[in-house]
């Protein structure tokens, strides 16, 4: 019997190694897999490359991982926010590397990795600082920049419900990077509020098919501050 569910957060993040590239879902706090991040802090892996849209908010979740100094490098689109003080301090001290990527290029580079694409030409960023040194091409009279896929060793993703085959549905704008990150990582680790029996998720509305998912852990409903 195939069972991708794991009994604990500790088991979910087992094997994340020093120097790994780890994608973390979320757009700000929406969709951020805070419980998995806390488990990763406890697990102790260091020198990580993190891929996220942001660089942490406040003192919890991704910000706490940064504060624990486990992150050598971050690939993101929007690190500077009103509550990004942990990242700001590390960056100003030269204690973290930043690769800044326009958000759509970030999403498409992640998607490309999951889809087996070796690179793509995008108009986004052409002629700007963020395309400096990159190969360009004119296609049908328009300027494009060559961008490469971003692969990951692990992805930490938050979904609403999953089953033992790894099929997932998400909740509202918490979906954001989850589906593409799951596909781009060798090992996609997903926290869900509830693990449901096979067949309980309508096959017409499954968002992430289980083929992209390796581990599923249930964390219960406590994490959601406001009921739907």
């Amino acid at each position: 019997m195939i069972d991708k569910t794991v009994p604990s957060l500790e088991a979910a993040v087992a094997g994340v190694f020093d120097g790994a590239t780890v994608m973390i879902g979320g757009f700000g706090a929406a969709g951020q897999p805070t419980e998995l991040i806390d488990a990763l802090i406890d697990q102790g892996a260091k020198d990580l490359t993190i891929v996220n849209n942001n660089a942490g908010n406040g003192e919890t979740g991704l910000a706490a991982l940064l504060k624990a100094r486990r992150v050598r490098r971050i690939i993101c689109s929007f690190p500077r926010q009103v509550d990004s003080q942990v990242f700001d301090a590390l960056y100003r001290a030269g204690d973290i590397e930043l690769e800044l990527v326009p958000q759509g290029n970030l999403a498409e580079r992640i998607r490309a990795a999951g889809a087996g694409i070796g690179g793509f030409f995008t108009p986004t960023g052409y002629g700007t600082l963020l395309a400096e040194g990159k190969e360009t091409r004119v296609i049908d009279g328009r300027h494009y920049v060559l961008e490469h896929p971003i692969h990951a060793d692990f992805a930490l993703v938050k979904a609403l419900k999953g089953d033992r085959w790894g099929n997932l549905v998400y909740r509202k704008t918490g979906r954001n990077f989850g589906p593409i990150m799951a596909s781009a990582a060798k090992c996609a680790i997903v926290q869900v509020e509830e693990i449901v029996p096979l067949g309980a998720l309508d096959p017409e509305i499954v968002v992430t098919p289980g083929i992209f998912v390796q581990r599923v852990v249930a964390i219960g409903h406590a994490a959601r501050a406001v009921a739907a």
Binding site: A30, F78, R92, P102, G127, V226
Partner: protein
């Protein structure tokens, strides 16, 4: 002359958004436009973090941390709205599916170059988000900004001195003084605020302006 308030600029932008338009309002000043969209038009607001059919802010106590906009503020979903992942969201943006996006700006050049993401200052931590995708992706890119900096310099410039967001991407500029189209023949003034002459606007702007064909009285 009477400069428009930020809400008045937002209302002016809103007047130009048509029934059925798919629209992205950038974070900051452009979000004000949502408050002024005509109630009798169905307009689809897109938010880059994965929703179409974005509604207004929820009532106090009804906020949902999983339902936010690009500025990470709580929002609502209109009946008929939907959610999607980030690659789909940016396909909508980059792929030319949005009719209009409205962006703030530090500077716009006479050829429609846009600078709105980074001051380039030595202490500035750069952050770009979806600005570059919006700048090059929407069918019409509207900029909404104060006409001048706090020290009185025109934000419409011959050549942007701040790092660029996109090249030749701006179609129309809405400021507290005027509405100006960016055309292959240069900048064309569509309208000025009351009691501001074309000549005075020209003096305050510093780069060559023309009159839009259908716009100003001679």
């Amino acid at each position: 002359m009477k400069r428009l308030t930020r809400d008045q600029i937002a209302a002016r932008v809103a007047r130009d958004i048509q029934e059925g338009a798919y629209v992205n309002l950038g974070i900051g000043l452009p979000t004000l436009v949502a408050n002024h969209l005509p109630k009798d038009r169905e307009i689809f607001l897109h938010s880059e973090n994965g929703l179409l059919g974005m509604g207004p802010a929820p009532a106090a106590g009804q906020e949902d941390p999983d339902l936010i906009n690009a500025g990470k503020q709580p929002v609502t979903l209109l009946t008929g709205g939907c959610f999607f992942h980030h690659a789909d969201s940016f396909a909508m943006m980059r792929g030319g599916h949005l009719d209009v996006c409205v962006l703030g700006a530090f500077q716009v050049s006479v050829t429609g170059d846009l600078a709105n993401w980074h001051t380039g200052g030595p202490d500035a931590i750069p952050a770009v988000g979806g600005a570059m995708d919006l700048a090059i992706g929407a069918k019409q890119v509207y900029v909404m900004m104060e006409h001048q900096t706090k020290s009185g310099e025109s934000k419409i410039v011959e050549r942007c001195t701040y790092p660029l967001t996109g090249i030749g991407c701006v179609n129309r500029i809405y400021t507290d003084l005027a509405v100006i189209d960016v055309t292959p023949q240069g900048l064309k003034v569509v309208e000025c605020v009351d009691d501001l002459s074309f000549e005075e606007l020209q003096r305050l702007t510093g780069v060559p302006l023309g009159r839009a064909a259908e716009a100003l009285p001679a």
